[in-house]
């Protein structure tokens, strides 16, 4: 015979359908979204990883100042380090030999000439010739006649031979000594003195590119910087989301994301490097999933930066300089990050030494695992999955507690039935199973419907969310084991154990205590004493104490939702705040960086612009602790710090005090990011040299634009061994027109500062609003469920006070006001906690990234984030009031079940 108690389950579902509907919808949405995210992520990542294989993603690349010779490429392919010391010695010897030979020749010539002159003068004196002109003529004639013979004689003399030998020995000795000294420093700097160096063999691909100005609306102004590769490249190839690769020299394929952002479609004409091209394809390069122009950029920029593909012929026709970029792939793939780091370090040694001995220079070197453009999106997708899963578990935990409270309430209500069943011989485990059935059924239902939606509707939402931000290849849904485990198994386990614990604890009591309704764990001998408040206030307080567990869950849920609310309001606020303050994040309207402080003729560059002020600048590194947050985002290295040398009494940067030698002022961004205070010591390192500089923080300069330190120019020159007339660029209020464009490296304007926020706003803008409303609904659902339990628990009392003559309004005030007070208080507490948590999370996240971006919340948003939640609660209160109104008076009078 089947246990007849099973029949209660569908009836319970039917009779309390609205409660279970809310819970199921809640779970379906949660599980659906997370399952969708996982399926979307897994599909997306599968497409990315597949692309890495099929599109031949590099293991890294380097750029040289000029085209590499075949012998350099051959040597690099083997991966061996070059013997730089020997190279320098050989080179030095050759030069020294030349110098010594030249010096000997000059010396000998002079000595022979002097000997001849001396002999002629002696002869003239013997003949009594004193006319100097005549003597000089005689000397010249004698030199002309005897020089060669004399030279020959001199060269053959033993004395000369000995002197020459000594000179060569001395020069060689000097060369070896100097090279050894220099080598020790260089070797130390790059750790090149390794005895057991293991070469990393690799295949090297030519992967040249040009950078041109892109004018996508053909209005004659530059809209973006476009990096162009050739269509015949066999490394870092592209997949085409739309269209095809260019075949004609007038055709171009550009990045899908950039095209979508700036509104370029297939068939459109765009101007690149002054030449018109027809867009025939929208692509996604395997090595540009995000459009990071530089690896140290805080954020990618799919508006102002683009990557493209043209035919080799069209590439030739372009005029900007070719970047001699070479991509490589290791012959044996590294197995993990540690091995990747080891390979890249070993290769760097080979690259530094080989490029030196082959007379070339490294402009750029970046192993793939540190490359933001390939890893940022993957890391973001993986990170989002983890974050969503945590959110999901927290919410399922909340649901499990709501269930547990509901069941605990039901057990209280059914105490005498449970007592009777236990007295009749039902075992505890049979009752535990009975009361566990409902939460498990609801979870399974939620998981099934949620997963179905996840694989269909929500997957596309997740995929589209990433397509809106990243240049990802097309993907198709793949079966995700992770999704099933995380959206079905884990919620079931959570639901199972939380409910099991509470139900077992609750059913621990003896049948007799159930029969007597004696369910309190601890018996209070006296009622809790309350202050001498009005009766109604005390009544409310009693309700509050009676429902403490419900209010605890409610508080937890509301605080959690407020945390999310803080994020939903704070992120757009922070972006807008950053964009609004972009101009104040610059020292001035124009900041010119020069290629060199002297022009081609060696003259110091000057300007007639009255507001121009010289400054010196240098980039150093501030050591950063390894972050445990997402890897793959940020350049992965130490923080880059810009060091400024400022003119005395600068109009643009006010140091706010004097800075002695070894003292610096730090930017407010630097101080905030690394908690620096006046009096602290900081050590900054050179990137490719083994040099460190220590400074004492003398104060702070209010500047959130970058991680920077400032010092008077005089101190700067001293610290970095610069000449007094050396400088790096100009600050100016007005455009400077009298400096040759060739001499200007970059001009920094407000647009450069705001590109980060433009990108973030585009990526997140739409979803944030939806998120806010979802939170309000979530909050309302949560409060609805818990408020319902509180009212159900008090049905008997509510019915009784109705009989006593209380009006519905008064009863509402008694039973709704405590909830309202709790909701308001915890919403405010939740908001404050959320605010500080966000500050912390932002900071922790920023430690991983390069640069600084502060969390900011407008006062009105602070109010709104609480008000939104209270609006949600207002709806619930209205429902509660109706519910109270509908409680009949006979509930208190009936003795029947």
């Amino acid at each position: 015979m089947k246990n007849p108690l099973i029949k209660r389950v569908p009836r319970e579902l039917k009779s309390d359908w609205h409660k279970y509907l809310v819970i199921i919808v809640f779970m379906v949405v949660m599980i659906g979204v997370i399952s969708g995210m996982y399926v979307g992520h897994d599909s997306m990542l599968a497409a990315v990883y597949e692309g890495r294989e099929t599109l031949n993603l590099e293991d890294g690349h380097f750029e040289l100042s000029k085209r590499a010779s075949q012998s350099l490429l051959d040597d690099l392919s083997v991966g061996e380090m070059a013997d730089v010391r020997q190279y320098y010695i050989d080179k030095g010897m050759k030069e020294a030999d030349k110098e010594v030979a030249k010096a000997i020749e000059e010396n000998l010539t002079e000595e022979v000439n002097n000997a001849i002159e001396e002999a002629v003068r002696a002869q003239c004196a013997a003949y009594g010739i004193t006319d100097e002109e005549m003597i000089k003529a005689q000397v010249d004639a004698a030199i002309e006649e005897n020089f060669d013979e004399a030279m020959k004689e001199a060269r053959e003399s033993d004395e000369f031979k000995k002197a020459v030998e000594e000179a060569y020995d001395e020069a060689h000795e000097e060369v070896t000594k100097t090279v050894n000294e220099e080598w020790d420093e260089v070797a130390d700097r790059y750790s090149l003195n390794v005895t057991d160096f293991k070469p990393v063999p690799m295949t090297i691909y030519e992967h040249f590119y040009r950078e041109e100005a892109e004018d996508y609306n053909n209005d004659g102004t530059e809209d973006a910087n476009i990096r162009i590769y050739k269509s015949d490249s066999t490394i870092d190839m592209a997949s085409f989301n739309e269209g095809r690769a260019p075949k004609l020299d007038t055709e171009i394929a550009i990045d899908r994301m950039h095209a979508s952002n700036v509104g370029v479609k297939i068939g459109d004409k765009i101007t690149v490097g002054g030449k018109e091209f027809e867009v025939v394809g929208l692509l996604s390069y395997a090595n540009y999933l995000t459009l990071h122009e530089h690896n140290t950029d805080l954020m990618f920029d799919s508006f102002g930066f683009d990557v493209a593909m043209v035919t080799p012929e069209a590439f030739k026709r372009l005029t900007s300089r070719i970047h001699y970029n070479y991509a490589y792939q290791y012959e044996t793939k590294p197995e993990d990050k540690v091995e990747q780091a080891d390979y890249s370090e070993r290769f760097l040694k080979a690259l530094i030494t080989q490029s030196l001995v082959h007379d070339n220079e490294i402009d750029d070197y970046l192993p793939e695992y540190l490359r933001q453009a390939t890893n940022f999106a993957v890391s973001d997708i993986e990170g989002d999955s983890a974050a969503t899963a945590i959110l999901c578990y927290i919410l399922i935990g909340v649901i499990a507690f709501i269930f547990a409270i509901t069941i605990s309430n039901t057990i209280d209500k059914e105490a005498s039935v449970i007592g009777t069943l236990r007295a009749s011989g039902y075992s505890k485990s049979e009752l535990v199973v009975h009361y566990m059935t409902m939460p498990l059924i609801v979870t399974i239902l939620g998981a099934i419907i949620g997963n179905v939606l996840g694989y269909t509707v929500f997957k596309d939402i997740a995929v589209n969310l990433y397509y809106e931000s990243y240049s990802l290849p097309s993907c198709h849904a793949v079966w995700s084991n992770t999704a099933i485990i995380k959206t079905t198994v884990i919620p079931l386990i959570l639901m199972f154990f939380i409910n099991l614990y509470i139900i077992i604890k609750k059913l621990q009591l003896s049948p007799l205590r159930f029969l007597r309704h004696d369910l309190a764990k601890t018996k209070r001998t006296k009622a809790r004493r309350l202050p001498r408040w009005s009766f109604l206030r005390r009544f409310r307080l009693r309700i509050l104490f009676q429902n403490m567990p419900n209010y605890m869950v409610l508080a937890f849920g509301v605080i959690f939702i407020e945390l999310m609310m803080c994020f939903a309001f704070g992120l757009p606020d922070s972006l807008n705040h950053y964009a609004d303050n972009a101009t104040s994040m610059m020292f001035t309207e124009y900041q010119y960086m020069l290629m060199d402080y002297r022009d081609d003729d060696g003259n110091v560059i000057e300007t007639k612009e009255a507001t121009a002020e010289k400054f010196s600048m240098k980039s150093l590194l501030y050591p950063k602790k390894k972050s445990t947050m997402r890897t793959g985002m940020g350049s992965g290295g130490d923080e880059s710090v810009t060091v400024y040398g400022i003119a005395d009494g600068s109009e643009y940067i006010k140091l706010g005090g004097t800075a002695g030698e070894g003292e610096v002022y730090v930017s407010s961004a630097f101080a905030k990011k690394f908690d620096l205070k006046t009096g602290d010591s900081i050590t900054l390192n050179e990137e490719y040299e083994n040099k460190s500089y220590s400074f004492k923080v003398a104060g702070e300069v209010e500047y959130d634009g970058s991680i920077a330190v400032f010092m008077p120019k005089e101190n700067f020159d001293k610290a970095f061994n610069k000449k007094a007339d050396e400088f790096s660029g100009f600050f100016s209020h007005h455009e400077i027109t009298d400096i040759d464009e060739q001499s200007i490296a970059t001009v920094i304007t407000a647009e450069d500062i705001t590109k980060v926020t433009t990108q973030l706003d585009h990526s997140l803008g739409g979803i944030i609003d939806i998120f806010k409303y979802a939170l309000v609904i979530l909050a309302a659902a949560l409060i609805y469920l818990l408020a319902k339990i509180i009212i159900e628990r008090n049905e008997h009392s509510i019915s009784m006070v109705k009989i006593l003559g209380f009006k519905n309004g008064e009863i509402g005030a008694l039973y709704i006001v405590p909830t309202a007070i709790v909701v308001t208080i915890v919403a405010i507490i939740g908001f404050v906690a959320g605010y500080y948590l966000m500050l912390w999370i932002f900071k922790a996240f920023m430690m991983q990234m390069d640069g600084y971006f502060a969390f900011y919340l407008k006062p009105v948003s602070a109010v709104l984030s609480v008000v939104y939640l209270l609006v949600g609660y207002l709806f619930v209160s209205a429902i509660d009031y109706i519910r109270i109104k509908h409680i009949p008076m006979d509930v208190a009078l009936k003795n029947v079940e």
Partner: protein, 235 residues
Amino acid sequence: MEECFLEIKDLKKSFGTGEARQDVLRGMDFTVKKGEFCVLLGPSGSGKSTLLNIIGGIDTPDSGYVSINGDKLEEMNESQLTMYRRKHLGYVFQMYNLIPNLNVKENIEVGAYLSDNPLDVEEVISTLGLQDHKYKYPNQLSGGQQQRVSIGRAVVKNPDILMCDEPTGALDYKTSKEILALIEDCNKKFGNTVIMVTHNEAIKNMADHVIKLRDGVVRHNDINENKISAFELEW
């Protein structure tokens, strides 16, 4: 009737400590034979419900023992006690304690499910006169009807002992007599031993065995040679 089915030996039970200590059972001894209709009679506080609970294995004595068919309850652990209740006892309380979202038939099936040898549910329903109400929910029934269901739930198990704790306490005179008649019928028809706790003196007349309790001890332990049927009772 067989000899000594239920034995109560020197049963003591008290609640509270110190000055608040209250001795509810102060050494109680009696035996009940199988199939006997035994009434435990006494005023409020005489210890009759506590005694019933101890016999039912849902409460424990401080000393003394209860033995059923030679098995001492004090030697049983919790799960053995559950099995004892499951296999040998049927409970009827003053409050009916029916499951609100199960209908009459299903509420009776709740009892049948527990038994290895249950009675036919339909037959029990018919005996209880609930044929016309078997698909009704408890809140659609009168108090008397609900108590019938509660009796049905207990007897359908075909228990060795039917424990009834003031089964007519919440019912009117007429309904009470009907319920008592029903218990009497079941006792006759199914041969269960019935132990009924009541403070209603009149009920003793329908019992085989009347035990009067006062202040936690047995004051009278009488066999009723002239029992009358429930319908003949008057109070």
